[in-house]
């Protein structure tokens, strides 16, 4: 059973997934403009036109844009982790299991990448690529794969020496079978924890890049882009930038809660006291 914070995190993420899946039903047109209702405050903060989260400088419903932004954030987070994890885990397995030259090459590349701050590298890559959600996901994978690689490699190095792996080899299992049937399942706990935390990281990352104006095309409604658009108005119409900013924080908070709970639940060695 999840702990209370873990449950809270799961609830927030579940809500987010539902919102993203049913975005088109919940808010048919996030780009609809009501120019006469520009910069209307949220209805609970003195808004005149009854928008729950207010409107932006072009008279667009912020709630509707948030709903569609959830879809982009979640896509980026989940697909990004799948790509980053796919590459990172494979390289970690190769480095840890084959060792020798492979290990040296892969880990040196990881060292080099770790020397470049993630956002700095992402900015540089995004600067030479055209802005699109697909390119953004590639950028995020390029800048984060080595986290998976390091964790998986460390796990493999430990698991490889265990008796059951040796036993499997003695009865004639080949490398592929040993990796898939014996090593991966035993490294799964760490991978799941890292992947969960990484979803939050990538969503934060996407938001930061979009906020800097380099992530996604200008027209795509994303939370980071909404903050970017709203920052000029922050002193007079705080809700435009603050609402999507808070959404990013809540989402990251939720994945951190779930990740911490999973770590405690799956890996007793790392349990916090």
């Amino acid at each position: 059973m999840p702990t209370l914070p873990g449950l809270l995190g799961i609830a927030v993420l579940a809500l987010l997934v539902l919102t993203a899946v049913f975005a088109d039903q919940l808010a048919p047109d996030p780009d609809a403009q009501q120019l006469l209702q520009r910069l209307d405050a949220p209805s609970w903060a003195g808004g005149e036109h009854g928008y729950l989260l207010g409107t932006d400088n072009l008279g667009r419903d912020i709630l509707a844009r948030m709903v569609h932004g959830a879809r982009v954030s979640l896509t980026v987070g989940l697909v990004g982790v799948a790509l980053s994890g796919g590459v990172g885990i494979s390289l970690g397995l190769v480095a840890g299991y084959l060792g020798r030259r492979w290990d040296r090459i892969i880990m040196r590349v990881a060292d080099v990448q770790q020397a470049i701050p993630a956002l700095v590298l992402a900015i540089a890559v995004a600067a030479v690529l055209k802005p699109s959600v697909a390119n953004l996901i590639v950028v995020l994978a390029i800048t984060t794969w080595f986290t998976f690689t390091r964790v998986v490699r460390a796990e493999v190095l430990a698991i490889r020496e265990m008796l059951f792996v040796e036993a499997a080899r003695v009865v004639g299992a080949d490398d592929g079978r040993i990796i898939v049937r014996h090593i991966l399942p035993n490294a799964a706990a760490s991978i799941i924890v890292i992947a969960t935390l990484m979803v939050g990281n990538l969503i934060l990352f996407e938001a930061s890049l979009s906020f800097l104006g380099v992530g996604v095309p200008v027209t795509t409604p994303t939370w980071g882009r909404m903050v970017f658009d709203g920052i000029e108005y922050v002193a007079t119409a705080w809700w435009i930038a603050l609402v999507p900013g808070l959404a990013v924080m809540l989402t990251v908070l939720a994945t951190n809660l779930v990740g911490d709970w999973l770590r405690d639940a799956l890996d007793p060695r790392q349990r916090r006291r």
């Binding site: 020397a115 540089a124 938001a207 930061s208 990013v248 924080m249």
Partner: protein, 329 residues
């Protein structure tokens, strides 16, 4: 493992003979310097490869309004029609001298343009580190010394919040509350130390949270050790035990994590510089993107990597001071 008192391993590629081997920290630090240099070569390789990611480097590097005919001319002038290995060596030879070409917008050396903004970013990063230390050390100490009491719970809650709040959100809220609402501090610029406070808090909060959590858990770990019980058994007061015995042993993971934070701090600085209109190299790079000023972006990536490498070198050197055992292994 080397025998106690021995220096570098005999098979070490950097064995400079018996005289230097007698001074293990020297050899250890030299090894780290060489490693750092190799990593830097790797970084310049990635910086070089950047122009190939989008396919044709000529169209990536050329100014936005280039016609196809001009593009061919540009390709030839820039030497982009040469074999890639030749281009790479040429790039490397220039890069080690800090020559990344001219900025497309100001037509000055790109590296110079970035270095001009470097001190401002270093000031911001240093202020953020200071903030992170001033917050995390007391918070971690208080939490560990009051384990499972309300202070501990509160500290953990704040640490969790600090780890989840995006730099741009915190910056925005600080501007709204402290600069616009209370009018205590300026919301932009870099005229005095006052304009450094809000950006530093925005950038440093994440690291403060991470460091506080780490310090708490490593203090708890150390406090359960035998020698701590011995110290208490000698009749030492709780504060002395924690400060003298526990904190010192918890310092190693703390310093390691601090070194790892430098990358996050620089990433955060890019965002904070944009929000607070702070004239650092991060804001310069963000501006350079819209102008497709690739040489400036390349210089920026390289400078950021040098800072990270240098910071980790400092951490490695700090190890030998903090923990005498490092010198022997």
């Amino acid at each position: 493992m080397a025998p106690p008192g021995g220096g570098a391993r005999p098979d070490s590629p950097l064995d400079l003979g018996p005289r230097v081997r007698d001074h293990p920290p020297v050899i250890y630090i030299l090894q780290r310097v060489v490693q750092g240099f190799l990593v830097l070569i790797g970084v310049t390789t990635i910086v070089f490869a950047l122009t190939f990611i989008a396919g044709d480097p000529a169209s990536t590097l050329a100014p936005l309004d280039t016609t196809p005919a001009e593009l061919e001319q540009f390709r030839h002038n820039m030497g982009l029609d040469r074999p890639v290995p030749v281009q790479y060596l040429d790039f490397l030879v220039h890069a080690v001298r800090g020559d990344f070409g001219l900025s497309y917008s100001s037509h000055e050396p790109a590296m110079g343009v970035v270095l001009e903004r470097l001190p401002a970013t270093l000031r911001l990063t240093a202020a953020a580190v200071l903030f992170a230390l001033v917050v995390s050390i007391p918070l971690g100490l208080l939490a560990a010394m009051n384990h499972d009491r309300w202070i501990d719970a509160a500290a953990r809650f704040f640490a969790f919040l600090g780890q989840s709040v995006p730099v741009f959100l915190l910056g925005m809220v600080l501007i709204l509350v402290v600069a616009v609402g209370l009018r205590w501090l300026p919301s932009s610029g870099a005229e005095s130390w006052k304009s450094l406070v809000l950006p530093a808090i925005s950038v440093g909060s994440f690291s403060a949270a991470v460091l506080a959590r780490l310090l708490r858990s490593s203090l708890l770990e150390v406090l359960s050790q035998e020698y701590i019980r011995t110290a208490y058994a000698k009749g030492l007061r709780g504060r002395v035990v924690v400060m003298r015995h526990a904190l010192r042993n918890a310092a190693l993971p703390f310093v390691t994590m601090l070194g790892l934070q430098v990358g996050f701090l620089l990433s955060g600085a890019v965002v904070a510089e944009t929000i607070f209109a702070y004239p650092g190299m991060g804001r310069l790079a963000v501006e350079a993107i819209s102008r497709k000023d690739v040489p400036v972006i390349q210089s920026f990536v390289t400078v950021a990597a040098v800072i990270v490498i240098a910071a980790n070198l400092l951490v490695d050197i700090a190890y030998t001071r903090i923990d005498p055992r490092i010198r022997l292994s």
